[in-house]
């Protein structure tokens, strides 16, 4: 919570920053409810005179936009929305689950080598473009291309370093004596982690889940190159609203972008309340 009062200069700078950040959001929201005639009118129309939901309708009924005399796309966005939810949720769950155990392993038992965590992180150092093509070739060979299994596998691989490192920071913050106290009290090692470690880092676990979900939800490169017809996600679908016949369907694109934002806004709001540290206050002598 912001408890400190801002000075005038700070307030002005803050307001300017907010305008820069929020203007695109405002423009997307407005475009999403503009009829086709207003999309790229010149001079720009800031607030549509006749707000409409036709863009949203077109997402699920591609022909709907034709009443405005504009050509449509053949594919509804339904599959893409479903695909995004399936790929993001599944990949996030797997990534966080594996990340949780590797984080505990590295933080508590990782006395083998100091480089292990760095090696895990090095997976993040490659730009996706550099590894996308090799993956297309490999996945074609083993039949994973254009499948959710393949996309989810890639998403898990790409986000695992992130979830491991982020959860590790929360485990590192937890004094290991609390787990050891549970062992002395009669828990096995794994029992101590399940009953002590995980409940005490659940805030961090939740925050990690949300961040990984955002990464997966907004991923574009792999979804684009690894999918043809079976698999689609929202970012890929967004790119499809550029058609040869009708140009770019700005309003429809904006409508899908607004839909895509909804979970992110919810998630972002939930993260900030769960990122609070200090869970262990009182457990140990300060």
């Amino acid at each position: 919570m912001l408890t400190k009062r801002l000075s005038l200069v700070q307030a002005v700078l803050m307001a300017m920053a907010l305008v820069v950040v929020l203007f695109p959001v405002f423009w997307i929201l407005m475009t999403a409810i503009k009829p086709p005639t207003d999309w790229n009118a010149s001079p720009a129309i800031w607030f549509p005179s006749q707000p409409t939901l036709i863009n949203f309708k077109t997402l699920f009924d591609p022909a709907a936009i034709r009443e405005y005399g504009v050509g449509g796309v053949s594919q509804a966005a339904t599959d893409a929305v479903f695909g995004s939810i399936l790929a993001s949720v599944t990949a996030t769950a797997i990534s966080v689950a594996i990340g949780l155990f590797s984080a505990i392993g590295i933080s508590r038992y990782g006395n083998g080598s100091k480089s292990t965590p760095l090696v895990i992180l090095s997976g993040r150092m490659f730009p996706p473009a550099a590894i996308a093509v090799p993956f297309v070739i490999m996945f074609s060979t083993i039949g994973l291309i254009d499948s959710f299994t393949g996309l989810i596998a890639i998403y898990v691989a790409v986000t695992l370093p992130f979830s491991t490192w982020m959860i590790k920071s929360f485990v590192d913050d937890l004094p290991r004596e609390i787990e050891e106290a549970a062992m002395m009290d009669g828990r096995s090692r794994i029992g101590a982690h399940l009953t002590v470690t995980i409940p005490l880092i659940k805030g961090g676990l939740f925050a990690t889940t949300m961040f990984v979900f955002i990464l997966n939800w907004s991923e574009f490169m792999f979804a684009l190159v690894l999918s043809y017809t079976n698999v689609s996600t929202i970012p890929v679908q967004l790119a499809k609203y550029v058609t040869a016949t009708a140009g770019t369907l700005y309003g429809v694109q904006a409508a899908l972008a607004v839909l895509a934002m909804v979970p992110l806004v919810i998630v972002g709001y939930l993260i900030q309340s769960h990122l609070a540290r200090g869970m262990t206050f009182g457990a140990i002598k300060q």
Binding site: E180, A181, A182, D185, G186, T280, I284, K285
Partner: protein
């Protein structure tokens, strides 16, 4: 880690020491934490592992608990080797130096957790927790989370979590540090009483020699990962193994002065005075002339009229401690500290000439000037 085929509880040998450690070694990277540490704790006794920070006290306790694995050496509980036995199967309770309470559990849940893990019926759990909480005078914090408790209350909850069951061994890692002085003295007396009343076996680590002196049956003096001395508190004080132990045990510290033994006269030259060598040191010095380090506890010196005193000095400083005061005196040959009644100290002024007489010469200590070893041992 080797798997445990038989539980250690089936072959208890009651005549064996509760704890028997032999040749324990542990390295962390290039640093040797423990070197050939051996010690034993008899049933129903309170053993204190005493040593400065970094001596290896916590490492020793953690290996007894099974939380760390020794590089070499054996740990036996009631005659049963503990290698490969998980902490939960060792039947040991431990109080950590940082307490490690469960932050998300109430005082009641913290104390009850060892019983709840063992599936003891809740009625019995409740009876035992309430009774113990009353003994420890923490009944009022049972419904509260650790973060709302005071330091002393947290300490008692940690104590309760250990004392709620009767394991064969209790490990206490600096359980009273970071409490204020009054509470520390109160709690350590309570600890000793609980231990004695129930016949518990305690191994307690502390850097505080006062604490060790006050509660220990046996003191294990640990320094740089090695056992320097095993003794009763009084033996440790009267016959320290070496100069460093003598300096560690006692406040103000033991006075150390260089002395020159003169066998022909039976005297020694120290602090610019000729002093009679007491009988127990005559044997030790073995007729060999030469230098040694003479140790005199501050309580074995007394003020005397300068003209008739053993040693003549000038008063440097007076440190009042209430009933007694600590005087620091010096002359060209060195510096000494001694206790006097504060009434007497009040009549003295800095720079004044004072005389000192030796008391209890039988308690004088002689140390080898090179190795620091107590020559009388």
């Amino acid at each position: 880690m080797t798997s445990m085929t038989s539980t250690p509880h089936t072959i208890i040998q009651p005549d064996r020491p509760t704890l028997d450690i032999g040749g324990l070694c542990k390295r962390f990277g290039s640093k040797t934490a423990l070197h050939d540490v051996s010690l034993a704790a008899e049933p129903g006794t309170l053993t204190v592992i005493l040593g400065p920070a970094g001596a290896g006290k916590t490492t020793t306790l953690r290996m007894i608990a099974g939380l760390d694995t020794p590089d070499a050496g054996t740990i036996a509980l009631q005659g049963v080797d503990m290698q490969g036995v998980e902490p939960k199967d060792r039947d040991i309770a431990m109080i950590f130096d940082n307490l490690a309470l469960y932050p998300n559990k109430t005082g009641y849940e913290n104390i009850a957790s060892p019983l709840l893990i063992r599936n003891i019926p809740w009625q019995e759990v409740q009876t035992r927790v309430f009774a113990l909480a009353a003994t420890l005078r923490i009944s009022h914090v049972l419904k509260r989370l650790p973060k709302t408790m005071s330091g002393g209350e947290r300490q008692r909850v940690a104590l309760g979590r250990a004392l709620i069951r009767t394991p064969r061994l209790f490990l206490l890692d600096e359980p009273l540090s970071s409490l204020d002085a009054k509470l520390r003295i109160e709690l350590r007396a309570e600890l000793k009483r609980l231990q004695r009343e129930h016949g518990h076996t305690f191994v307690l680590a502390t850097p505080d020699f006062h604490e060790a002196m006050a509660i220990a049956d046996t003191v294990i003096m640990l320094r740089e990962g090695r056992v320097v001395q095993k003794a009763t508190p009084q033996q440790l004080y009267d016959a320290p193994a070496d100069r460093d132990v003598a300096l560690f045990v006692g406040a103000p510290q033991v006075n150390l002065v260089t002395a020159q033994y003169q066998p022909d006269t039976g005297c020694m030259q120290a602090m610019g005075a000729r002093l009679v060598v007491p009988d127990h040191l005559v044997r030790v010095l073995n007729g060999m002339p030469g230098e040694f380090e003479l140790g005199i506890r501050p309580e074995n010196l007394a003020l005397a009229p300068p003209d008739s005193a053993d040693i003549r000095c000038r008063l440097l400083d007076v440190e009042p401690l209430g009933l007694k005061s600590v005087l620091t005196v010096h002359n060209d040959h060195g510096q000494l500290r001694l206790f006097v009644d504060s009434v007497v100290a009040g009549g003295l002024h800095n720079g004044q000439e004072v005389g000192l007489n030796l008391l209890h010469t039988g308690k004088m200590l002689a140390f080898d000037p090179h190795s620091g070893r107590n020559m009388a041992l």
